[in-house]
């Protein structure tokens, strides 16, 4: 068991990679076989992430399931040079939860991609590479490999959107898939430049000759001015990925251009990488810098919440609505992180999970609607609930989650964020709650227009969501309810990680 436990994270990271290799070897004229292989690999991975989260011991806390391989030694002027760069894996409560989120979204994404007709082999190869990168970021305990996996996650995205994406003509303007793909990639690479600068600065300033996260966190002593200078590099670099205003426009455009499964991963997991980076590296390594910069982050987060929600109200395309709603909800994550308060940060991490599941559900449902009606234009969709009752119910669950209906996951996370905010920035907390009110307006307007009312003449012969797509959505719904009704196991795991991070705060 010990051996298995020390390899389980390695398995989670390498299974998608291995899956990609296997797929490369399969003939592309056997799409059924490819599908099945992809599904089996995804299923195995998601089960392993369940195992990891289930057996992570929050009482003990800290990093668990650890395993380390030395990769590059850096002998030289530094005292610990032998450790250099190592392929070190392990999870704490926060990353275990994030691994599980990625696993869930990966598995459901494979299911909704079941019917991809065009070059499904290449699709799944790139999809798995993308996921390997995501898992690697959450599981790496070495900054060099964290960055490596981060880059690995960004690049397949370009091809996935550029090849399998869709171009939409909005009459007054056109958003091509190439545009969406390019903007997304340039933005994320731009962010990663800032991150890389910060990582090198950390390495040099610490003078420990190691990229090991734990060593840096425990032994390095960064002067306050250094922290103040380099925290913004991490905050903005990762913030871009988290959809931080005003660097958010890549995200709705990217969602609109991307195929369903990629939108799910993109909004559900990739944006969480950004928030995770701010928390793990920014707050984890630069506690004092974080304290000095948090007023900025909390204001940006508030802008995200309100601005995203108001923009969502003015959108005509279903995917844009969900995209801007994501910008708005990621604002709660940023606000929660910025409180540097126990409740607030825990709420922020829970919101990452909750929003990840919820937005994956949204995109799965919107994708199903688009596949059938070939439009996402809110103005022409009408009364779909009559023919697509299950689809409408699934969308309603997502919508109610996003507007904060108790019993579903969103409200627990947001409530914790609000409690944290009222301790630290009460006025912005009020704005946050107002933002949740605006969410109700755009979600309910959309549901009333698209699903209710008399069935539009054009949609007389629509079919409801298929069993397979429905199954993947119900899996996501199950998690929405699970977190909403029994949040305690999740909160306990997050709490164990957050306590460690916050214990390093001055005055804590």
């Amino acid at each position: 068991m010990e051996t298995f436990n020390s390899y389980v994270i390695f398995a989670i990271v390498s299974l998608p990679l291995a899956g990609a290799v296997v797929l490369v070897l399969l003939p592309s004229y056997r799409p059924r076989l490819i599908r099945w292989v992809a599904t089996v690999v995804a299923l195995a991975t998601v089960l392993l992430t369940f195992y990891t989260f289930g057996f992570y011991d929050p009482e003990e806390g800290g990093f668990q399931f650890m395993r380390q391989w030395s990769w590059l030694e850096l002998p030289g002027p530094w005292p610990l040079g032998e450790q250099g760069i190592s392929f070190a894996l392990g999870v704490d409560g926060i990353s275990a939860l994030m691994l599980m989120l990625s696993g869930i979204v990966m598995f459901t994404g494979v299911l909704v991609s079941w019917n991809i007709a065009e070059r499904n082999k290449d699709f799944f190869i790139l999809y798995f590479l993308l996921l390997a990168g995501v898992f690697g970021v959450f599981a790496s305990m070495d900054l060099f490999f964290l960055f490596f996996f981060y880059e690995l996650a960004v690049l397949p995205m370009y091809l996935l959107i550029g090849v399998w994406g869709s171009t939409t003509d909005f009459r007054t303007f056109v958003r091509t898939k190439e545009y969406g793909a390019m903007k997304l990639t340039i933005y994320l690479v731009g962010g990663s430049v800032l991150i890389w600068i910060a990582l090198l600065a950390i390495f040099v300033q610490a003078g420990l000759g190691t990229f090991s996260f734990v060593d840096l966190q425990e032994s390095a002593d960064f002067p306050r001015t250094f922290q103040q200078v380099f925290f913004p590099f991490l905050m903005v670099g990762f913030g871009v990925l988290a959809g931080m205003w005003p660097f958010h426009t890549w995200s709705p455009d990217g969602h609109v251009a991307a195929p369903t499964a990629v939108s799910m991963v993109h909004a559900g997991v990739l944006m969480k990488l950004g928030a995770y980076g701010i928390l793990r590296l920014g707050i984890g390594l630069f506690p004092e810098g974080a304290q000095d910069w948090m007023p900025v982050l909390v204001v940006l987060g508030t802008v995200n919440v309100i601005y995203g929600a108001v923009s969502a109200m003015g959108q005509r395309d279903l995917k844009y609505v969900v995209g801007y709603s994501g910008v708005s909800h990621m604002g709660y994550v940023l606000m929660g992180l910025a409180t540097l308060d126990h409740l607030g940060v825990t709420g922020a991490v829970l919101q990452m999970f909750s929003h990840g599941v919820m937005t994956a559900l949204f995109f799965a449902v919107v994708g199903a609607i688009y596949d059938r009606t070939h439009t996402r234009d809110i103005a022409v969709l009408e009364g779909l609930a009559k023919r697509m009752g299950v689809t409408a119910s699934l969308f309603a669950v997502g919508g109610l989650t996003s507007l904060g209906m108790p019993g579903l996951s969103g409200v627990v996370a947001e409530l914790l964020v609000f409690l944290g905010l009222f301790k630290t920035y009460p006025l912005l907390g009020v704005l946050g709650i107002v933002g949740a009110g605006i969410t109700a307006v755009y979600i309910l307007r959309l549901m009333a227009k698209v699903f209710f009312g008399a069935l539009g003449e054009r949609w007389r012969d629509q079919t409801d969501i298929s069993r397979l797509e429905g199954f993947s959505s119900w899996v996501l719904v199950a998690f929405v309810f699970l977190v909403g009704l029994f949040p305690f196991p999740f909160i306990r795991a997050i709490d164990s990680g957050v306590s460690t991070l916050l214990s390093r705060m001055a005055g804590a």
Partner: protein, 623 residues
Amino acid sequence: MPFGETIGTEWAWVIPALSAAAFFLTVIFGRFLPRQGAYIPVAAIFLGFVLFWYVLRDLLTSGPASFDITWISLGDTRIAWGVNVDRLSVTMLGLVTFVALLVQVYSLGYMKGEPRQGWYFAAHALSAAAMLALVLADNLLFLYIAWALVGLGSYLLIGFWYERREAAEAAKKAFITTRIGDVGLLIGIILLFESTGSFDISTIFHVAQSGGISQGTITVAAVLLFLGAMGKSAQFPFHVWLPDAVEGPAPVSALIHSATMVAAGVFLVARMLPLFELAPGVMLLVAGVGLFTFVFAGTLALVMTDLKRALAYSTISHLGLMMLSLGAFGLGAAIFHLVAHGVSKAMLFLGAGSVTRVTGKTEIWDMGGLRRRMPVTAITFVIGGAALAGIPPLSGFFSRDAIMLAVMDNRGPAFLVVALAAAALSALYMARIVLVVFFGPLKADNEHAHESPLVMTVPLVLLAFTALTVGFIALPWGASYQGFGDFLADEGGFHFEVWLTALTLALALAGVAAGWLTYRTGHISHGQIARRYSGLYRVLVNECYVDDLYQWVVDHVVLAAGNFVALYDRVVINDTGVDGSALTVMLSALRLRHVQTGHLYNYGLAMSLGVVGLVLVWWLVLA
């Protein structure tokens, strides 16, 4: 010891749990069962009603109790689920289980043959469960959760016939309007948590009463809580959703106008009254809003021609009366009126449903003379109308009398005079509805009308019987029961002022008499009055243009803001800022590429200039 003896107050939580379980069971397994599982929620609420009597018995013998379990504990913050079984919550349990049970039984007849009726009954179960949880909640967080679920239940029920555009819009409007109040409520709850460190209601009272919170915080928190109550209880200016909500099936209106939804706001203020009492300004606000709503909605009820819409404004008006009572420190009277009104109004809506189902009409002027064809509906409707008009010995008479007494004692003559006038008004509009619908000659196209089946009329009769008799709980029955006010809130024994009671009664009778002369005998012509004051009449039939104003704000402010920000985001931030930066880079590259000439002498020059520059820097700055 028989089993029944062991059931007591600690079983109270089972009552909402039964309906909650019924919701899930019906949603999941309903499709395999007869009538799509409609009997599950009915059975659950029936068991809840039976349990209520056990809980009541135990409450009377062993006193209030509370129980809780930890839900989340994080650092030093502990959030618990708890139920608080006291006289207020048990009174509400009785009202909610009784009305919900009869409404659901009635629905068995009313919704017969309806596709998706399983979902309908499941939503009823959800509403009932949420409302029952709300009244039992011992902490504000739990209360908020139940509060939001009550809103969800109403949304689902109002929008049940979602294919009809009006129903979908009404459901949306109900949700969003009450949501605005909820935002205030949530802020208020968190504010109280921040200043007391607890969600627990009794702890908050304790801290507030011992001076642990500043006066300013108490006032702000109470206003915010009241905002939530105004939304749910449809107080002006949040009243607009309730008249539209009659787009739902009639039994739904019966439920949300009496036992759930609108009762939640009154209950919230009642539950938090010890906090409100620490903020006298807020109490005055509650009384003022209540009084204004009482009068305002009463005048509108007088001119509505849609039966259910007229009843809806009557509900808003009576909710205003309850708020007025709370603002006048009349807790017992307010809850008494909540019960009395709830029973009567549920019956009136069920009666209206019975009429509409048979005749297919919604306009009162298209009805008329229906007592000949629907005697049971007509008699029960008259009883309900009389109860709300305040005719003794029906329930509304006692409760209104108690409220007027509280207003006179604590709010003074100005409030009392206006309230009495509005009371006469409510007798008048009730008389109008009853007389126009059930009396006079029968319309030719209503000849085929007939009485509804037993499954619908039996609930009507039971509710009518209750409306007839429930008023007597106001009176003292012996040493251990000194009247409802004393039972609920230790307000001392039953008492009344003879002149005030006489005046209230006289005004109510005058209202009914005016109604009789206008709508039965025709001595007063309502048409002439409408013509003479045509300006005022037009304002009233258009519901004082409140709806139009809101619609204008939504279209021209809210949606315009959404469109503006969306456009700003695309054109300014993205196309200018983002694409502009990209374009700048590209244009700079187009210029800069000319530096790449391929001529050696150009490069040589640049190199030498660079070297000279570096040397100069080194020499002038660093050396």
